[in-house]
Symmetry: C2
Subunit: 207 residues, 2 copies
């Protein structure tokens, strides 16, 4: 439920596997909900379950996957919600196609984490497999990643922690008039614990 | 954009082909938008284009088609929008599954038009083909239609005109607190003309 003053938008994260997209998406979603906004995260897993069962990892299927995420984000954002996409979305042309279809604001957030840092994190051990040649079409290793040319926001997760990146994004949304300014962000203990675990797994913070 | 007072909901039309679902959906959507609500229509064509390309007409594929419509309606409705589904959705079990997954109100609207009336309308000539045995899996002829057992609203398009059915649905939504009461419905000339053409095509009104 939103108020008449608040406009919906799509926050479109893009970046390599393990760059930090989902972590940032969750951190942001928790804070946006705390501020009373309607938020939906469309990440790869959510979407493969509900919208794209049966699609594979060919270029064509990956494009279709991103188009469907884009379509749902478009509907949500033009109805006042904040739609957060947290899929890799490696190809520039499809991201631009999704942007062009949007009525509400489309904010592309490039999670600019160097490949070597992503390989170090390797949360699910997939880089290891891809480097060993056991995984085809793995973005960054056996498949290209095309960084955005003019993203609205760039964050550097190798140089700042996730909270700093999230704060930077919130400030940018406030400046664009998409979000009312808040006093101080805060989380419930349960949310804080979940975020800590995730950050630890990703190597953002020490165990 | 919605106000804090307004709750989202899903209006789930179900009925035979040519029963009047899309006509009623369009009529309702125009009036709801006039009242300042965010509205999205998920009909068969829209969905096949954006969400279910590649799915066919087997029982399994039709179920998946309906699940995806249900998923998008669920996301929209829980964010304050009014999601209108206008696909045939012939199977009770899947409709109930979609209902169970909803957080917002799920209003099932049974468009209870007798098969013989639908066959007479036959907007796209598909009943003719199905009766001639040229179309497999055509609901009502070569595939079953399971009417809902406890729909929130039933309309009889063979006994009343589309405006009367739409007015009945609006009143039901007002009574359920899902819609603020309005003074009188009105349409722009362009909308009125589009609706007239559609109603004429469907045989609701004389040429």
């Amino acid at each position: 439920m939103t108020t008449k003053q608040e406009k919906g938008c799509t926050l479109w994260f893009t970046g390599l596997p393990c760059s930090g997209k989902s972590t940032l998406a969750e951190l942001l979603a928790a804070e946006l909900k705390r501020r009373g906004r309607g938020v939906e995260i469309m990440d790869g897993d959510e979407v493969r379950k509900h919208l794209t069962k049966g699609l594979g990892f060919s270029r064509e299927d990956r494009d279709e996957n991103i188009r469907r995420i884009g379509y749902v984000c478009r509907l949500l954002s033009r109805n006042g919600a904040i739609a957060i996409a947290a899929a890799i979305s490696p190809f520039r042309a499809i991201r631009d196609e999704v942007r062009a279809a949007h009525e509400a604001a489309f904010i592309e957030i490039f999670v600019d984490t160097p490949l070597e840092v992503c390989i170090q994190r390797d949360v699910k051990g997939m880089y290891k497999k891809a480097i060993a040649g056991e995984m085809k079409n793995f973005t960054g290793i056996s498949d290209p990643y095309e960084p955005p040319e003019n993203p609205e926001i760039v964050v550097h997760t190798a140089k700042e922690n996730a909270r700093q990146s999230a704060a930077q994004i919130l400030t940018a949304l406030e400046h664009r008039g998409l979000l009312a300014a808040a006093v101080t962000p805060s989380y419930t203990e349960e949310e804080a614990e979940k975020i800590r675990r995730r950050l630890t797994d990703l190597g953002y913070i020490e165990k």
